[in-house]
Symmetry: C3
Subunit: 383 residues, 3 copies
C-alpha cells in the first residue's frame, strides 16, 4: 500500500500541463494532504534537527490518528494559542519520549513516523492542565520529562503484547502514566498539587435550568479540541482544520462522534458544564475516528463508527463516575478501550473491511487502494 | 465428538422393540435430555421464526452452562413466574444481541447454538432487577436493547483474545456491560435510577441472632435461582429442574457448589440476609458447574470443582466488598474469573481431563465419549 | 546454559592442589554461592523429606529472585528472628502450595527448584503481618493453608498466559490472593480482623519536622528486609546477606534500588514513617533486582535497572494511594507490574541483553556464560 501511495502522489504532482497558478495551488494543496510521504522521503538526507522537527510534528498529529507534519504544526499553533506553558510542557514530553525511544533502539521507521512521541506529549500536556500550581511552575518540567520517558517504556512493552492481535498501542501508555501521576501526587501534594476530577453525573441544581442550544452546539466543536485539552473555540477549530488537511472524512467523523457523544451525555443527564465544555464529546469523537481510520469506508463500517461513538461515550461516563470517587479523571480510557475492542471484532461482515494496523493511512487513501485492489482482483477473476 | 453424540442419539432413538408405552416415554425422555442435537437437525429447514425461537431458548440455557431448548423454556417459565417485566426485558436483550450477531455476520453455528444471546439476556434482566424505577418503566427498553447489542460487540472481540488459550467468552461481556451501565447511571440518575449494592461483609446487629437452619438450606437452593436473579423458591426449583434435564450431574454440582459457597459465607460471617437469599451461593454454584462442564468427571476433577467453588465463593465476597464501596454489585465476576483460571491449569494430573472448548457437551455425554475413546485407544495399544 | 553452569562448578570444585585450609574454605564458599546445582544433583537420590527441605529453602529464596537453599535458610533465620509466629505461617503456606503443586502434577523440575512455593509462603506470611488478632491466633492456619493452595492454582494458570511472552509468573499470585483475602475479611471481621493500610501520601503534621538522615539510611537497608515484611535491622541484614551469597551484584542492586526508591519517596513528600521503615524502598529494590536478574549486566541494562527502580517506586506510591481508599495495601504490585513491562521491551539496544526466562541464573553466571558464548561466536566468525 505504501508503493500505491507513492504512485498516487507521483500522479498528483506530475504537472500534466506546465504553468497556471491554479494548477500550482492545487498541486501544493495535494502535496500537503494525506501522509505527505513525499516530504518524508525528501527529509531523509537532511540535517538531524530538521528531521527531528518532522518526527515531532508527525508525533503531535498522531494523537488524533493523523500522520501529517502540517497538521502537527497547526495543532501546535492551537496549543500555543490555548496556553503557551502547556504547549511548552507538551513539546518537552514529546522530545523526552522520542529521545528515550532513540536511546532504547526502537524501530527507526516507527520513531520517524512519530509513533513514539505522542503519548509523551499528551502526558506532559495533561500534567500542565491538571496542575493547580499555576502556569510557569518550572518544577513541573521534571515530571513532564520522566512521564514522557515512561510512556516510551510502556509503548515498547505493550507493543509486544498487543502486536499479537495486530492491535496498535494507541494511547494506552498516556492513559496509564497520567493516571499513575495523578494518583501519585494527589490534590494536596506540597510539590505537585493537582485539581481533583469531577464526576460528570453529579446531581447539580443548575441542571434544572433550561438547555442552551448554541452553547451545546459549540460544545460539539469543543469536543474535538478537548482531545488536546483545549477548551476554547479558536484552538478547537484549528485542530479540526488540522484533521481536515489530513482527511476530510476523519474531520466529519470527529464532529459526528462528538455530536453523538453529546447526545449520549444528554440521555444520562450529565452536568451542563460537561456538555458545554466539550468534555462529554471528545471520547465519542475519538471512538468514531478510530473506526473511520482502521476500517475501509462503507455503510456497514459507518454504522459501526456510530455504534462505537455511542459505546465510547457511555463507557466514558461510567469510568468518569467511577474514577471520580478516587479523584481521578477518565481521560481517554473509554475511547482507547472501545476502539481496541472494535479492532478485534470477528464478524464476517466487518472483518473484511479491517485494514491491517501497519497499512493504515488516511481513509481516502485506504478507500482508493481498496478500490484498485478490488478492481485488480475482479479483472484477475475475469481472466 | 459431535459424530459420537449423534451416534449415541441414534442408538437411543432406534426402537429395538416396537410398542410399549414405557418404551415411548423413555424414548421421549432421552430425546429431551442432553444437547437435543436431533431437534437442532430437524429445525434446520423450518420457518425462520421457529429456528429463532430454538436459538433463543438455547441462549437462555447457555447462561447456566446448558445447551438445551427445553431447559431454556423451563427457565423462561421460571423468569415469568418471578417477574413478567424482567422476563420481557431479558427476552428483548436476548433478541437484541442475537440480531446484532446476525447483522455483524458472526459464525452461523455459534448464533444458532445460542452463544451470542445469553450475555444480552442477562444484561437486560439485571437492568430490570437493579432499576429502582419500578416495573413496567418502559424507558428501560432502550438501554436493554443497547446493552444487549453491546454484549455482542464484546463477545465478538473477546473471542479473538480468549480463543488463543482455547477459553470460552463466558459471561465476561455481561459482567462488563452491567457494571458500566450501573456506573453510568448510578443511584440518583433522573432517567434510570438504580438500587445501590450492599457489601456482604457489613457489620450488622442482626448477625448476633441465631442462625436459622431451614432458611439456610433454602438459601442453598435459592443460590441456583440467583444465577438468574430469582429470589423465590418456585422459580429456583424450576431452574434446577432445567439443569437436571440437560444433565443430572450438573444439577448435583449446582447444589453442591451453592452449599459450599454458603459455608464459605458463614466462615466469613457474611450478613444472614445474603445467606438466606442465595446471594452467597450463586457464584459457588457457577464455579462448581464450570469445572463439571469443562472437565471429564473423575475423582480428581471432583476435588477441583469443590476447590473452585470455594475459590469462587471467597473471591465473590472480596469483590462484593470492594465494588460496594463504589455502590456496584460484583454480579458473577468471581465465578467467571476463577472458572477461566481453572480452564488454564497446566498440571499434568488435570490437563488430560480438560475437554477442548468446542467439544464440550453435557458431562454424561463427555464421560461416555471419553470411555469409548479410552477403550478404542486401549484396543489399539493391545493390537 | 545449565550444562555450562555444571562445567563451571566442576572446574571450581576440582581440587587442583590437594590440602591447604585456605583452599578448602574457598572451595566451600564457591560451593555455597550461585545456584548450588551440585547440591541439587546430590539430593536427587536422598530421602524425600530432605529433598522437600531443599525445595522449600529454594522456594523461600525465590521470593527475592534467588535460587539457593543456603540463602533460603538465612532468610528463614531472619524471619524466625523477626517473628516466630509469622515464620511458622510462612512455612505452612510454603508447604501447602508445594503439596498442591505436587498433587496437581505440576512440572517436577519446577517444583524442585521452588517455583511453586514462594507465592504461598508470602501470602501466609503477610496474612500474619496484617492480622490484628495478635500472634499465635491458631485459626489463621486455616486461611494460610487455603491461601497457599490458591496461589498454586493461580501460578499454574498464569503460566499458560504469561508463557506466551516468555514472562515469569513472578509474584502475581501472591499479590492477587493477599488482596482478595484482605478485601474478603476487612478490618472488622469477627474471625479474621486485619489492620487497615495507610496511604503513603497522607498529609501529616510530623512531616514538617526535619528529616533524620541516619534513620533514612537505615530505611534503605530496611527496604530490602521489607520484601519479607521485616521491619528491624538484624533480619534485614541477614536477608541482604542471603542475597549476597547468591550474587553480590544482586545485593548491590537491592540496596541501590531501595535507595533510589527512597529518593523517589522524598520527591513525593511521602510520610517520614514510610521512609524510615523501608516501606518506600522495597518495591524499588525488587524493581532494580528484576532487571539485574533478567538482563546481562552492561551499562545499558544498568541504566535500565535504575529507570525501573524509579518507575517501580512512583507506581508503588500511586497504587498505595489508590488502594488505601479501599483500605488495602499495594504490596509488591508495582515492582511486579513494572518488572513484567521491562521484560517485554522491544528496543534493539536492550533486547539482545535479555536472558530467556528458563535460562536465568545468577547475574555473575549469566555474565560468564554470555562472555564464553560471545568469544565462541567471535572465533566462529573469524574462522
Amino acid at each position: 500500500m505504501v508503493s500505491t501511495g507513492n504512485m498516487l502522489i507521483l500522479e498528483k504532482s506530475t504537472p500534466q500541463r506546465p504553468g497556471g497558478l491554479k494548477q500550482r495551488v492545487v498541486s501544493t494543496l495535494l502535496y500537503c494532504t494525506g501522509e505527505m510521504q513525499q516530504l518524508h522521503t525528501h527529509m531523509q538526507d537532511k540535517f538531524f534537527l530538521l528531521q527531528l522537527a518532522e518526527w515531532c510534528l508527525r508525533g503531535i498529529s498522531r494523537v488524533i490518528l493523523l500522520n501529517n507534519p502540517l497538521s502537527g504544526a497547526l495543532i501546535l499553533a492551537a496549543l500555543l494559542l490555548e496556553s503557551p506553558w502547556q504547549a511548552l510542557l507538551g513539546m518537552l514530553g514529546l522530545l523526552a519520549s522520542t529521545f528515550t525511544a532513540i536511546i532504547m533502539g526502537q524501530d527507526c521507521e516507527e520513531v520517524s513516523s512519530g509513533l513514539h512521541g505522542f503519548n509523551g506529549m499528551l502526558v506532559a500536556l495533561l500534567m500542565g492542565v491538571f496542575s493547580s500550581a499555576g502556569d510557569w511552575y518550572w518544577w513541573l518540567l521534571l515530571p513532564a520529562c520522566l512521564g514522557g520517558a515512561a510512556t516510551t517504556f510502556l509503548s515498547s512493552s505493550l507493543e509486544s503484547v498487543l502486536g499479537r492481535w495486530d492491535l496498535p498501542v494507541s494511547v494506552f501508555p498516556f492513559n496509564t502514566v497520567i493516571l499513575l501521576f495523578l494518583a501519585c501526587t494527589g490534590t494536596s501534594n506540597p510539590y505537585f498539587p493537582n485539581y481533583p476530577a469531577q464526576p460528570p453525573g453529579a446531581p447539580e441544581s443548575t441542571n434544572h435550568t433550561k438547555l442552551h442550544v448554541p452553547q451545546l452546539l459549540q460544545g460539539v466543536v469543543l469536543g474535538v479540541g478537548q482531545i488536546f485539552a483545549c477548551e476554547t473555540l479558536g484552538p478547537s477549530l484549528l485542530i479540526l482544520g488540522a484533521v481536515f488537511i489530513f482527511s476530510p472524512i476523519l474531520a466529519v467523523y470527529a464532529l459526528l462522534g462528538s455530536g453523538i457523544s453529546t447526545v449520549a451525555g444528554l440521555s444520562m443527564s450529565v452536568q451542563h458544564s460537561f456538555l458545554y465544555s466539550g468534555l462529554s464529546g471528545f471520547n465519542g469523537a475519538l471512538g468514531c475516528m478510530v473506526v473511520g481510520a482502521f476500517y475501509i469506508l462503507s455503510w456497514r463500517t459507518h454504522l459501526l463508527s456510530i455504534a462505537n461513538a455511542l459505546l465510547s461515550a457511555y463507557t466514558d461516563i461510567a469510568l468518569s463516575n467511577l474514577l471520580a470517587v478516587l479523584g481521578l479523571p477518565a481521560s481517554s480510557w473509554a475511547a482507547t478501550l472501545t476502539g481496541t475492542l472494535m479492532l478485534l471484532l470477528t464478524g464476517e461482515n466487518l472483518k473484511e473491511y479491517r485494514i491491517p494496523t501497519g497499512k493504515v493511512t488516511s481513509p481516502e487513501q485506504n478507500l482508493h487502494s481498496h478500490k484498485q485492489w478490488s478492481a485488480a482482483n475482479t479483472n484477475a477473476t475475469d481472466v
